[in-house]
C-alpha cells in the first residue's frame, strides 16, 4: 500500500492538482480545506506527509504546522508548504514553525514528486 499524503488548501483546484499528481504516482491522498480541517485529518489517521498552503481561512499553514508539531503522533511528519508566498521572512517563519520545505506555486508535477520522494525517502 502506498504512503498517505495530506494536502491542505482552501483552493479546490490546487487540492485537485496535488491529488491528481500524487495519485498518479501511486500515493494515497487525503484532502483538507483549511488548517483546522488539516489538523483534524492528520491526527485522525496515519499520514506520512503533509503538503499545505500558507494563507487559509480558519487556520493558516503556520498554525497548522505548530499544531502538528505539538502533537506526538504528527510531531515528526514532514510538512511542505505549497504557497504563492515567496518572501524569505515567511519562509523563515515556516522553517521556525517546523516546515520541512517550501514550494512556491505554481508547481510542476515532477517537482512535487521530486520533493515527495526526497522527503519520504
Amino acid at each position: 500500500m502506498g504512503k498517505t499524503i495530506l494536502t491542505v488548501d482552501d483552493s479546490a483546484s490546487i487540492r485537485q492538482m496535488v491529488s491528481f499528481t500524487l495519485k498518479e504516482a501511486g500515493y494515497e491522498v487525503v484532502e483538507a480545506v483549511d488548517g483546522k480541517d488539516g489538523v483534524a485529518k492528520a491526527t485522525a489517521g496515519k499520514v506520512d506527509m503533509v503538503i499545505t498552503d500558507l494563507n487559509m481561512p480558519n487556520m493558516d499553514g503556520l498554525e497548522l504546522i505548530r499544531n502538528l508539531r505539538a502533537n506526538a503522533s504528527t510531531k515528526f511528519v514532514p510538512i511542505v508548504m505549497l504557497t504563492t508566498e515567496s518572501q524569505d521572512s515567511k519562509k523563515q517563519e515556516g522553517k521556525a514553525a517546523g516546515a520541512t520545505g517550501w514550494i512556491v506555486k505554481p508547481f510542476k508535477p515532477d517537482q512535487l514528486l521530486g520533493v515527495v520522494k526526497k522527503v519520504l525517502g
Partner: protein
Amino acid sequence: MRSPRPECRTTLSNMTISETLTTLSRWEEALGGLESRIQSTLQGSEQEFLEAGSRLQGFLVKGREISDLCSSAVDLTGEDMMGHIAGELQQELDRMAGHLASSSRNTAGSISSMAEMYVAITELNETRRGFKKVISTLRVLAISTRIESARLGSNEFGFNTLADDVEKLARQIEAKYGSIIAKAHDLTGFVEDVLAKTQALSLLQRKTASDVIAETRAGISEIIRINAKSAEVSEEVSLRLGQIVSRIHEVVTSLQFHDITRQQLEHVAEAFADARNKIGEASGNGNGDPSAVREVSGWVGDVSELESSQVLNSKNELFDAVGQLQDNLRDISGTVLSVLRSIQSILRSTDKEEGNLLMVVEQQIAGVVRLLRDSQEREKEMAASMASVSDTVGDMERFVNDIEEIGAEIELIALNARIKAAHTGSHGEALGVLAEAIQKLSGEARGETEMVQGALVSISDGARALKDLSSDDQKAQVSVVEETAENMDSLVRRLNDLDREFMAGIEQMGERVAELEAEIREVTEGMQHHLVVGETVNFIQNGLGTIVSESRDIVPVHEIENREERLAELMSRYTMQSERNIHQTALGEASEVIKESDGSDDELGSNVELF
C-alpha cells in the same frame, strides 16, 4: 451647529475641499463597485477549472489505455509474434522449395528414363527388318530344300522333313517376333502418353518453382515489411502518447493559475476595501481635514495606479496560463489526431495489403502443396505403370527366349542337313550349300535376338528406374512434404489469427483516440473564465484610470505626503513575488526588484527549497 469649512484651493489644486470630498465619495462608490465586480467574477469561477482538472484524469486513463493497446499491437507485430511466424513461414517455404526442386529432379529423371526407354523401343522396331530377312530367308531355304529334295527323288533321305522343319521355324519366329513387336507398339504408345504427361508436370513444376515460390516468398517478405512498418508506426504512436503525459503535466501547472489569479484579484479587492476605508476616515462625514483629504486623494491615486498594473498582470498571467493550457490541450489533441491518422494508415495498408497478401500467400502455398501432392501422385502412378511395363518386358523376354531356342533349333537343323548332305554324296552337294546357308542364318537370327535383348534390357532398366520412384525414400519424402504443408497451413492460420487480433486492437485504438480527441476539444473550447476575467480587468482599469487621472489633478505625485511609508505598507501585503515586482515596476523601481532567496534546490527548481 458646525460652521462650513473655508475653501482651500491652494492645497487641493483647483478644487475646493467640498468638490474633493464629492470626488472622494464618488471614488469610494466606484471602488466598491469594482470590488463587487471582482467578487462576482470570482464567484463560482473555480468550477470550470475543476471540471477541466477532473477531465485530465480521464485523458490519462484513455491515453494509457491507448498506450496499452499500442504496446499489444507492437508485441503482436514484433519479432516474437507475427515477425517470428512470418520468419518460420519463410523457412518452411524454403523447405517446400527444396521439396519442389527434388520433385522436379525426379520428374526430370523420369523424363530422361522414359526418353531412354523410347529410344530402346525405337531400336526394337529397327530389328524388324533383320527378323523379316531371317524369316523370309528361312522360307526360301525351306522351298529350296523342298525343290532339292524333289530333284533327288527316292534318294531324298528325308529332306522333305527338313524343309517342313525350316518352314515351321520360320512361322514360329514370325509369330514370336510379331508378339514382341505388338508389345513394343503398345509400349511406344504408353511411353509417349506418360512422357507427355510428365513433361507437362515438369513444365508446371518449373513454373511453380520459378514464379509461384518467388511470388510467395515476395508475399511473405511483404507481410514482414508491413508488420515491421506497423510496428514502427505503433512505436511512434507509443512515443507520442508519452508526449501526451508530459503535456498533461504542463496542464497541471496551468490549472493552478485559477488559484493564483484569485489570490491576486482578492489582494486587489482588499486594496480597494482599504482605500475605501481610508477615504471614509479622511472624509469624516463631509468634515475631513484638508491635509488628510489631500493625502488620501493622492494615496487613492497611487493605489489605483498600482492595482491597475496588478490586475493587468493578473489578466496577462491568467491569459498566458490558459493560453498554455489550451496550447497544450490542442497539442495533445493534435498528437492524438496524428496518432489517429497513423492508426488509420496502418488500417488502410494492412487492410488492403496484408489481408490480401495473406490470402494470396495462403492460395499460393495451397497451390504449391497441391502441385507437390500431384507430382508425388503422378510419380506413384508412374511407378505403378512401370510395373506393368516390366511385366510387358518380361513377356517380351520370354518371346526372345523362345526365339533363342528357335535359333538353337535352326542350328541343329543346319547340322542335320549337313550330315544328310554328306550321306547323299555328290548328289547332295546342293543340299550341303543349303545346310550351310541355314547355319549362317542361325547366326544372323542370334545377332538379331541379341539386339532385341539389348533393347529389352534398356527398357527394363528404365522401367526399374521409374519404379524406384515409389521407393521407401520417396514415401518418406511424401510424409515430409505433408508435414511441411501442415506446418505452413498452421503458420498461415496463426498469422491470420494474429492479423485479426492486431486489426481489432488497432480499430479499438482508433475508437479510443477519437473519443479522447473529442473530449480534449470539448475541454479546450469550454475554457471561458479567462475571458470573463479579461472583461473584468478592462472594466477595472477603465474605472481606475479615471480615479488616477482625477487624483493627479488634485494632488501631483511629488506633493503626496507619507507616500513612501504607505507604499511600503501596501507592498508588505503582497504574498507573491510577481506582485512585488509589478509594484516596483509600476513605481519605476524595476532596478530594485527584490531578488528571491537563493536557498532553492537546484535539482528541483528555483521555486523549491528544502530546509
